[in-house]
Amino acid sequence: MKLALKVNDRDNVATIFAQGIESGTIVEVRDQKGNVECVAVGEAVPYGHKIAVRAIRAGERILKYGEEIGVATKDINKGGYVHVHNLDSMRGRGDLRGEGE
C-alpha cells in the first residue's frame, strides 16, 4: 500500500511517502495515531509532495501541522495535488517575486 502522512487532525493535506503515484492510485492516509483513510489520488504526485485529504475551495486556507501554510488559489478536489500551482504563501513567495516581504 502507498503511504501518505497527516500529522495533525486539523490538516486538510497529507504528504505522500511513496513512489509511482499516478492518477487513480489509492493511497493510505495515516494520522499520528495510525488511523487510516484510503484516498484516490487525482494525478501524478512525486515523493514528499502533498495531496488534499478533503475538497478545498479557492480562497480557503491550506492546513498542515494544524496551521496555515498558505491559501488555495483554485478549487482542489479530494486527492488532488497541492503545491505551488494552487497554493499561495500568505507571507510572500520568493520564487515568484524574486524577493521576500
Partner: protein
C-alpha cells in the same frame, strides 16, 4: 516517569558526572586538550573565542563558559587560563564554584608555559576526577529534566517524521512539568506569526518578533535578505510549497504547548518550567554549546541526511526520519523514526520510544556519538568583529 541522576549541591540533577576542562580562551586549547587526553572522565570545550573581541562579545563568551561550567552534567571543573585573555576567568571560577562543585584553575603564563601547565593540570584533573568518581545516581522525577531540541542535515522526512516525534516528546515533557528549550531563530522566518500565537502572553509574543527581526537585521547589515528566494527551488522540488510550510516543519519539533519565554544565548535555566525559546543560530557547534550552557542535560536531535556529531557534556540523541539513512548510518543514529515513513510505526509509537530513550540516556545509557567521542566541535555564538 523517572530517571536516575546525580544530585548537585545547587539542587540541579545531572545526567553525567564529568570533569569539565574549560579553556578561558582559544589560546589555552592545546593545554586543555593534553589534560583531557590524559585523565579519565574529563571532557574539554575547545572553543575559538575569548580574546580580541568587543566587550559585549567577551561578556557573552564569559557568560557562556559560566553556563557550561554550571551544567549539572559536570561534577567538577578545571579552568585553563592563559593569563592575558579578554574573558573574565576569575568570575568564571567564582560563579561555577558558587554552585558548590569543586573548581580549580591553572594559569599557563604564571606556571611557566605549556609543559608545566599541562603537568599541573593533569594533577588537578586527577584530584577532581577522584573526588567525584564515587558519586551515585539517585531517582529523580522527569520534571527535573531540561531537554533541548535541534534539527540538522534535514531532508523531506524531517518535517514529517523525526521533528513530529520530538514535538510529541516535548509535549509529554511539558505536561509532566519538565523544561524544554528550542532555538534556531533563523528557522522561524515566515512562520513567526504562527509561533507568536503560542506565546503565553503579549510580552513574549512581541519578543518572538523582536528576536526574528534582530537576526534579520544582522544579515541585512551584510547586504543579505534571509527571506529572499524562500522556499528555495530545491525545497520546491522536494515538495515544500511555501516559507510557512518550511518553517512550520522545523518548528514542529517544539510540539504544541505555550511558549513561556525567551532566553538570550548565554542565559541559564534556573527555575523555568515548560517550553522556552533560546535565541540561537542553527549552526551546530553554536546551538549545541548554547543549549549545554543553559543547563540542558540532554538533546533530542532530528536528522534526515545524517548529522553524526554530539557535544562533550550533553548527550545528543539522534532521531533519524529517513529509513535509508538510518540503515546506512546506524552507528551514528540512535532512533529510527524512518519506520513512520515506511508505515510500520506511528508518530505516537516512535514518540513513546524516544521518551523512553531519553529517560534511559538521562540515567546513564550512552548515545552513539558519546561512545565514539564524536563531539569535539564546540563554539560560542558571537555578534561583533574579531579585532
Amino acid at each position: 516517569m523517572k530517571f536516575k541522576g546525580f544530585y548537585r549541591a545547587d539542587g540541579k540533577v545531572g545526567a553525567r558526572n564529568l570533569v569539565g576542562v574549560i579553556p578561558s580562551v582559544i589560546c589555552a586549547n592545546d593545554v586543555a586538550q593534553a589534560i583531557v587526553g590524559q585523565v579519565q572522565g574529563c571532557v574539554g570545550f575547545f572553543h575559538h573565542q575569548g580574546c580580541c573581541q568587543l566587550p559585549p562579545d567577551l561578556e557573552q563568551v564569559t557568560k557562556t563558559l559560566i553556563g557550561l561550567g554550571c551544567s549539572p552534567n559536570l561534577g567538577a571543573v578545571l579552568v585553563v587560563s592563559i593569563g592575558c585573555e579578554g574573558t573574565d576567568h576569575e568570575s568564571l571560577v567564582r560563579t561555577v564554584a558558587a554552585t558548590g562543585k569543586p573548581v580549580e584553575i591553572i594559569r599557563i603564563q604564571d606556571l611557566g608555559g605549556a609543559s608545566r601547565a599541562i603537568a599541573a593540570g593533569i594533577d588537578l584533573a586527577q584530584k577532581l576526577c577522584i573526588a567525584i568518581s564515587g558519586e551515585q545516581r539517585e531517582d529523580a522525577d522527569i520534571s527535573r529534566a531540561i531537554m533541548s531540541i535541534k534539527c540538522g542535515a534535514s531532508d523531506t522526512t524531517s518535517g514529517m517524521a523525526s521533528n513530529c516525534v520530538i514535538g510529541y516528546v516535548a509535549d509529554r515533557l511539558v505536561d509532566a512539568g519538565a523544561t524544554v528549550v528550542f532555538g534556531e531563530t533563523t528557522e522561524f522566518l515566515g512562520a513567526e506569526h504562527i509561533l507568536a500565537r503560542r506565546a503565553a502572553n503579549r510580552e513574549i509574543e512581541k519578543k518572538i518578533y523582536e528576536i526574528v527581526e534582530r537576526m534579520e537585521k544582522r544579515a541585512k547589515s551584510l547586504g543579505c535578505d534571509m527571506r529572499k528566494g524562500q522556499p528555495t527551488p530545491g525545497n520546491i522540488e522536494g515538495g515544500l510549497s511555501s516559507i510557512e510550510e518550511k518553517s512550520l516543519g522545523a518548528i514542529a519539533k517544539s510540539g504544541t504547548r505555550p511558549i513561556q519565554g525567551i532566553l538570550e544565548y548565554p542565559e541559564m535555566i534556573t527555575t523555568q518550567k515548560g517550553l522556552w525559546i533560546k535565541d540561537t543560530p542553527g549552526r551546530e557547534p553554536e546551538i549545541l554549546t548554547g543549549m549545554a550552557a543553559c543547563g540542558a542535560q540532554a538533546m533530542l536531535f532530528s536528522t534526515g541526511r545524517g548529522a553524526p556529531q554530539g557535544f562533550p557534556s550533553m548527550p545528543v540523541i539522534k532521531i533519524c526520519g529517513n529509513p535509508e539513512t538510518y540503515e546506512r548510518m546506524s552507528h551514528d543514529m540512535d532512533l529510527n523514526a524512518g519506520l513512520i515513513i515506511n508505515g510500520q510505526k506511528t508518530i505516537e509509537q516512535v514518540g513513546e520510544e524516544a521518551l523512553a530513550k531519553l529517560a534511559a540516556v538521562l540515567s546513564g545509557e550512552m548515545t552513539k556519538n558519546e561512545t565514539i567521542k564524536y563531539f569535539h566541535s564546540v563554539d560560542i555564538y558571537t555578534l561583533g568583529p574579531v579585532i
